[in-house]
């Protein structure tokens, strides 16, 4: 069976630091998969490799069996390379830019919220729709795309309603409370019509009640938009509640993988989070 997302032996090395070490994983259609690990384990780096922000040192990423990222150590990196997996990834180098990857159907949110600061919530979502346009600069300037524009505005409004921000559509994005900014980021990501949604700590800074609501919300949009969700999260309750599978990484290496129950009892995971017992 083909996977929605497949990472093959991804290693990301910055200079001498190996941020991700030989990471392989796969995500299937309709799943909610979580990526957890202590601070600095390389979770966001993994996201950045998938979305084309970073180019991994070695390994490949496949989205619906299409290779979107592939690289192997070259030049100076050949000597410096310190990943566990010594076999260089076969095949020509592929490095899609983030905008191309988003166009294929992977959307993301950011750990440190990155909304378009000077614009309203509504405009933020509208910008997310720009990539599905059929108009060219000329027809857009001279308003030959009125139909499309109207449709975009309508859809943007609907998305805002779905994430519960309908009443704040014309508020400046940065004037919204923290939790709502996170929801707005999700709305903006949904506007790009993704098939895979990457959420980078969507519950950061939320209180327990908001976190519970967010969990329900993620499950709901997953079903409504027929999405596959891949999330990084520190709130264990949320992760355990909604995830189908969990990958745990520490120091860039995968240390556990399985259902929430399996992962919870894994001694490696407990060690990574709580530290080793002194003998």
């Amino acid at each position: 069976m083909s996977h929605v997302l497949r990472l093959e032996n991804i290693t990301m090395q910055f200079g001498g630091v190996v941020a991700i070490n030989d990471l392989s994983m796969h995500i299937d259609q309709g799943e909610i998969v979580a990526l957890i690990g202590p601070n600095g384990a390389g979770k966001t780096t993994a996201f950045n490799c998938i979305t084309g922000v970073y180019e991994p040192t070695n390994g490949a990423v496949y989205f619906n069996d299409q290779c979107i990222v592939r690289n192997q150590p070259t030049g100076r990196m050949k000597k410096l390379y310190a990943g566990d997996n010594r076999t260089p990834c076969e095949g020509p180098r592929i490095a899609m830019t983030p905008d191309k990857i988003t166009k294929l159907g992977i959307a993301r949110t950011f750990q440190n919220i990155r909304l378009f600061k000077s614009q309203s919530a509504f405009e933020n979502v509208l910008i997310g729709m720009h990539l599905r346009r059929t108009s060219n600069p000329f027809s857009a300037t001279f308003r030959l795309n009125l139909q499309e524009e109207k449709q975009m505005r309508q859809q943007a409004m609907e998305l805002l309603e779905i994430v519960g921000l309908g009443a704040f559509a014309y508020e400046k994005a940065t004037s919204l409370p923290y939790g709502q900014q996170r929801r707005l980021e999700i709305a903006r990501a949904l506007a790009t019509q993704p098939r895979l949604l990457l959420l980078d700590e969507p519950a950061a800074g939320m209180n327990p009640q908001e976190t519970d609501e967010l969990g329900e919300f993620i499950v709901r949009i997953k079903d409504d938009f027929k999405l596959t969700v891949f999330l990084i999260e520190h709130h264990m309750n949320l992760v355990m509640d909604i995830s189908d599978r969990i990958y745990v990484i520490d120091f860039g290496r995968q240390i556990a993988h399985g259902s929430p129950a399996q992962v919870q009892d894994d001694p490696e995971v407990i060690r990574a989070y709580l530290g080793e017992e002194e003998a």
Partner: protein
Amino acid sequence: MKKSTRMIIGFLLLALLFLAVWLIERAMGTNSMVITVLKKGAVYALIAVSMNLLNGFTGLFSLGQAGFMLVGAYTYAVFTIPMAKRMAVYQYYQGGIIQFEIPFFLAILLAGVVAALFAALIGMPVLRLKSDYLAIATLGFAEIIRAIIQYDKLGPITNGSNLLKTYPTFTTVLFPFVVSAVCIGIILLLIHSTYGRAFKAIRDDEIAAEAMGINLFRHKQLAFVVSSFFAGVGGALLAMYQGTVQANAFKSAMTYEILLIVVIGGMGSVSGSVMASFLFIACSEWWMRFLDSELMIGTFKVPLLRSGFRMVVFSILIMLVVLFYRRGIMGDRELSFDMFRRRKGVASK
């Protein structure tokens, strides 16, 4: 108020403004200071808005505006000098090699197109640079193009470092007003289209914009080309305003002047740029002229007033604006009906 009524009122106000300008011209005569200021102000308004599209709306810190104006001005002048006068203008180059002329409105359009072509070519390497580096590269382009145009071997086309003159100029002050208004209108339409939103997204956060599927290079290139097109048209208008064109006048100081207008008006505000350009031109050409001439009150000679003092005062004013009024006249807002209504609402409370 409904959107359509607002638009109608807006157009009526614009028509009223044109009428007022026309009446002023009738009353004051074509050579009065007011008319000079209005003409130059209208030309600079277009150029400032074109620069604002790049610096204020797309967040590309480009300093190449004078270069594109130069290209536009020369394109216009070279193609519109009447056949009969080419021999006299190109006296050192046997009348030049371009032995035809085209109608002036076509030449204005061509001025924009040629400037846009230059921008498309230069944009390819240059737009991959960020902030300061982009500024240096575009500034370099402007200086290089100025030198190239004065190159003696290009004389048969550009007349080397000699003046271009005798081409058609403004016959009425309304002409630059109408052309500028149409061009600024088009820029406004672009800014409020889905592409304009993408520009602003790039300005606010490049990484997020790219993650939203916006092709950074293509959109920057678009903004750069459109901005340069209108800078080229503005250059053609400036040539018409001046009556003569010489490459040497398009120094980087000219870009700084326009940057100043953009900053004073407010980065990201079209109406701010327009207001600031009239203010700036009025100040530099008219209101502050007295600072440049010696003044005697009775037997008392007012100190400091002498040639060049105007620039000192100007610099101080600019420093004050940048220090205490950083967002300029308009910030990133636009002049609108709502603004007045809200102000009234606040006042009545």
